[in-house]
């Protein structure tokens, strides 16, 4: 029988407790929160070592690093929450280079008074998303700000990954003649968030598409190592992302409106909110630009994957000194698909 008495520690009250300033003070309350919440959820050797940094071996070759802050409002939305979103967002940014994401850091800014029960839900959702994605959250930080100086929780994650040999994917590699593919329906995340905003209060069945795309990317890169560009169309949507790539690569693009996959519910919600699905954020979709000859093969690989079932060939790249992204409308006319102007939906991710 164990005769050593357990320490005189009263467990954190995750049912009724709230974040207070001591949780960021560096003292015992903070240590306890880290141990009982973050360490328990993210559990791995690096965190257990309890250092201020994580130490890991590196392989040869090229590594990528990406960082992303998350301020989404509301924190919980249909199809996800800020926790899983903060993992998916950074995993996807790393993966869009063709890399395999390995490690994440997570930094929390908590607002005094935030319910610990909600924080626990968020952290567990992060842990679940990280495990599913096969990445480890190896280091982190927690700060607390006074009530009214934050909005519940802000989370910043940074990710590191390794690019397979022979893969060179970059936004400046789109070439005239290339095909433009998209992995699925557009605008789901933005509309799901919008529907939750209290000022609107309409009911939909639309769920956020938030998902980690690195496995889909791995299959695509395996099939066609010579993919030219990949990017996830988050804020600003498909339109803004394509404009970024067109400018980086110094090319023009032509989309076919009829080929764009948009869910009927999303189209309808956008219709009455006065939004254009092309500009609404996605969190689980990617755009792929590849040689025309590789398009069919890639579409086949994408459609065989759970996250690419509705993949579509939506347009092509051509020479254009003005770097316009244009679209043949379903109507037979032509128009520009311009950069997003102003802010369509604030705090979407």
């Amino acid at each position: 029988m164990n005769t050593v008495r357990k320490g005189y520690i009263r467990p954190v009250d995750f049912k009724h407790g709230r974040v207070d300033m001591t949780h960021g003070s560096g003292g015992r309350a903070m240590a306890q929160l880290i141990e009982e919440l973050f360490l328990a959820a993210f559990d791995n050797d690096w965190l257990r070592a309890a250092n201020d940094q994580a130490c890991f071996a590196v392989q040869g070759g090229r590594m990528v690093m990406a960082t992303d802050s998350h301020v989404v409002s509301p924190l919980f939305f249909p199809g996800g929450d800020i926790g899983c979103l903060s993992v998916h967002g950074t995993v996807n940014d790393v993966a869009m280079s063709g890399a395999k994401p390995l490690y994440l850091s997570a930094s929390f800014i908590l607002e005094e008074g935030f319910p610990l029960a909600d924080l626990k839900r968020i952290v567990e959702s992060m842990a679940h998303a990280a495990r599913e994605a096969g990445v480890a959250i190896v280091t982190g930080d927690t700060k607390v700000v006074e009530q009214g100086k934050g909005d519940g929780v802000f989370i910043t994650t940074t990710g590191i990954g390794v690019v397979p040999a022979g893969v060179n994917i970059s936004g400046d590699r789109a070439r005239p003649g290339d095909a433009i593919l998209v992995s699925g329906t557009l605008g789901d995340h933005g509309v799901a968030i919008m529907a939750q905003r209290e000022s609107l209060g309409f009911e939909t069945t639309i769920q956020s598409d938030t998902a980690a795309l690195h496995d889909l990317v791995a299959r695509m890169v395996e099939a066609v190592p010579g993919i030219h560009a990949l990017r996830d169309p988050t804020r600003g949507g498909l339109a803004t992302t394509l404009n970024e790539i067109a400018r980086q690569s110094g090319v023009g693009m032509m989309l076919r409106e009829e080929a764009l996959p948009v869910r009927q519910e999303v189209e309808a919600a956008c219709e009455f909110l006065g939004l254009d699905p092309l500009y609404v954020a996605n969190e689980g979709k990617l755009i792929c630009i590849c040689a025309q000859d590789d398009a069919e093969k890639l579409l086949e690989v994408m459609r065989a994957h759970l996250l690419g079932r509705e993949a579509a060939h939506i347009g092509s790249v051509h020479e254009d000194p003005h770097h316009f992204v244009q679209m043949e409308t379903g109507f037979g006319g032509k128009r520009i698909v311009d950069w997003l102007t102003g802010e369509q939906l604030p705090r979407i991710c």
Partner: protein
Amino acid sequence: MKYINEFRDGKTARHIAAAIAAETRADRRYHIMEFCGGHTHAISRYGLSDLLPENIRLIHGPGCPVCVLPIGRIDNAIDLALNRGVILATYGDCLRVPASGGLSLLKAKARGADVRMVYSSADALKLAQDNPDREVVFFAIGFETTTPPTAVALLQAEKLGLKNFSVFCNHVLTPSAIANILESPEVRLHGTVPLDAFIGPAHVSTVIGSQPYEHFAEEYEKPVVIAGFEPLDVMQAILMLVRQLNEGRAEVENEFSRAVTREGNVKAQNLVAEVFELRKSFEWRGLNEVPYSALRIKAKYAAWDAERRYGIEYKSVADNRACECGAILRGLKRPQDCKLFGTVCTPENPMGSCMVSSEGACAAHYTYGRYKDAVGT
């Protein structure tokens, strides 16, 4: 999306386009003004002018609520938000309209003004209910479509005894603007703006009906076809106008019969008549002072009239001298004729109001059609 996609069908569009091409006479030109920004947007977004013969010219009219709002009125709203400590509730389109001193409501917000974007007058009313210790002013703008909801909010406030809510009324009237364009010397005397026919408003007409346009058809001999905001509506209206012009008719026809009647929405009209009365004169951007072209709140509802409550004084402010919004709103110039277009005036940094709202002629051309200007350069 049923009842919407039917009106965006490409195949039908090509049929109508073929009919238009077959019926236009080569020996004349057709100058058609679409009054509403909603039509301007549909024309640009769906690339409709690509489907029309070269001798049909579409002229963008002044029917964009944000575009016709004069700078002085925005200045008034900014003053309320910045210096009077009120919560100013307004439609999203108003936020970026440039005002005096390089300000806009959005920039005023960044300087500490409490400006809230709402989707309806009911949201503004709710803000007042949720913030009983604050004064909430609804910055009401728009044509006859948005006027009845403002009336409803005001009547609700009365019913609820809501004392911290008021309305800064800037509602304007479509028929007065059309009359002003038709009466302008450019159209009437000099003929510098050839104007053969009108595509009549969609949503406005659901409220006021088709009857008010009969005067224009008779008095000025200009055909009017009231059309919905979907691209097929616009195409069909153009075909109907071409036919009227070819046959020498000048009638009011209703393409938007699925929503518009001759009498309009009488209930809504009665609500408006209960709360509002005509202003003697109102300044429009581009059209200057137009007599009896706007509404104000009746004395009976003075308690909810922000103009009375805060003693708002209107001061006219001139546009940037190089800005051609005025001429563009009257159909005298096209966006690409303005020196500022696309250089200093862009959707990110609008100088004139036509670049602000997606319904504005400049924003529509910049966003959807500017590739046509770039060809060959």
